[in-house]
Assembly symmetry: C2
Homo-oligomer: 252 residues x 2
């Protein structure tokens, strides 16, 4: 065999499963515009009949699309499968899963975050609008309130939002998305630390205030420098906590 000089790649023919075919059709209708965010798919029983498949196959397809962030399933009359607006938050789960599969490490994650945010603040220096800066200012204000009230878990939420706002200030939703994904995972570690009674990071509000001021002054180099210093101190705090946990279950 193999006499044919053509590219005999022969993809392993994974027998096409029904739910995959269904997913592809719905994705196709998204690509060609037949389906748009807000649209509602027919009820499961009806759609299954139209597609000539059983309800179980259709449900696995809908479940897949739900996990992928494409549809939102809602129960009750007037419920159904609705095409979602863009909500890229699902990516954080994907990255986080890979973290637990050992494919990536926390060190790689924090390093990627440092570099990403270096890039992001430089772009934000060029593009941040007044409303972007105002949102950041309000966020820091709320962070200060939470700090004074010792509401540390809510302060973590403020932190997550702070980085999301920075991402938004680049006016590039892809970069914003990437920043949110890596931030979300780090925040999970921070929450663990807070729940365990770890000391909150000192001078957080002051450091963020300075970063936003530099941002407002459009001073990219100094902003990036301040951000990098801040992230590395965060990294240091987390490393402390991680060393403790890893000591107990470390083996190979």
């Amino acid at each position: 065999m193999g006499a044919n000089p053509q590219a005999m790649v022969f993809e392993p023919i994974r027998t096409r499963r029904a739910f995959e075919e269904i997913c592809d059709r719905i994705r196709g209708q998204l690509e060609n515009g037949a389906l748009k965010p807000g649209d509602k798919l027919p009820p499961e029983r009806e759609l299954a009949r139209q597609l000539g498949v059983g309800r179980s196959a259709l449900r696995e397809a809908l479940r897949s699309l739900e996990i992928a962030g494409i549809v939102r399933l809602q129960k009750g009359v007037k419920g159904g499968a609705f095409i979602r607006e863009g909500d890229p938050s699902g990516m954080a789960q994907v990255v986080q899963d890979q973290l637990h599969l050992g494919s990536i490490t926390v060190e790689e994650l924090t390093e990627a975050r440092v570099h990403l945010l270096d890039l992001v603040v430089r772009l934000a220096c060029e593009r941040a609008t007044k409303s972007d800066l105002e949102a950041l200012r309000k966020n820091i204000e709320r962070t200060a309130e939470m700090t004074r009230a010792n509401r540390y878990l809510e302060r973590v939420e403020c932190s997550r939002e702070f980085y999301a706002l920075l991402g938004a200030a680049t006016h590039n939703q892809v970069l914003a998305l990437l920043v949110e994904a890596v931030t979300e995972i780090l925040m999970k570690f921070v929450r663990l630390r807070v729940a365990a009674g770890g000391k909150p990071q000192p001078r957080l509000v002051e450091k963020r205030t300075r970063i936003v001021e530099l941002l407002k002054a459009r001073d990219a180099d100094r902003t990036a420098h301040a951000m990098r210093a801040h992230l590395q101190s965060v990294h240091g705090l987390l490393q402390e906590g991680l060393r403790l946990k890893q000591g107990s279950s470390q083996k190979a």
Copy 2:
């Protein structure tokens, strides 16, 4: 209302669905190390019995985990649900879905790619090993062969691999992953262009060769500059093609 000063956030209690509970349990076993890549879950019927749920609920859970890239399902005796090694390629699908949902645009994607690769090549300049550079050299060699043989689809595959190798040369799997995700989507557009008979990009091999040479010389600034110029010319070619397609279905 709101008399309670406590944080009355009251998350909307989405009635916990069975498959979600199952997913969380399996994810939990991943986190605490009870499950590791390569492990096999019990057969569906058996696992459903153990968990006290029906087979359909369990299957929706397994389907979700499969879409998330956590397990791989295999038929036949000796088949089953296997915990996957880290395979972060699923992220590309997530990003691509968001693209079709209109959440992000091709412009944002290409811009993010330019900035990401700027960062990546600078890191790669510091960290690329001999074997990284050797892999890049071999990749370019193969790209040249495909170019001479007019095997353009395979040349696209070489391109995808080229950027994956660049990502790998950073020795940070998170950054590598992000690069692969955005690259994979752009490649889809390139493949469309190739299939439509678009002219292949000229001097591709020469440009990549120069980039790798600069990389080998550890000249971060020049490498980044060459990369940026290259990516922007790619962007220009794609923009041509996109303008044609958008003209036909543009409305609002």
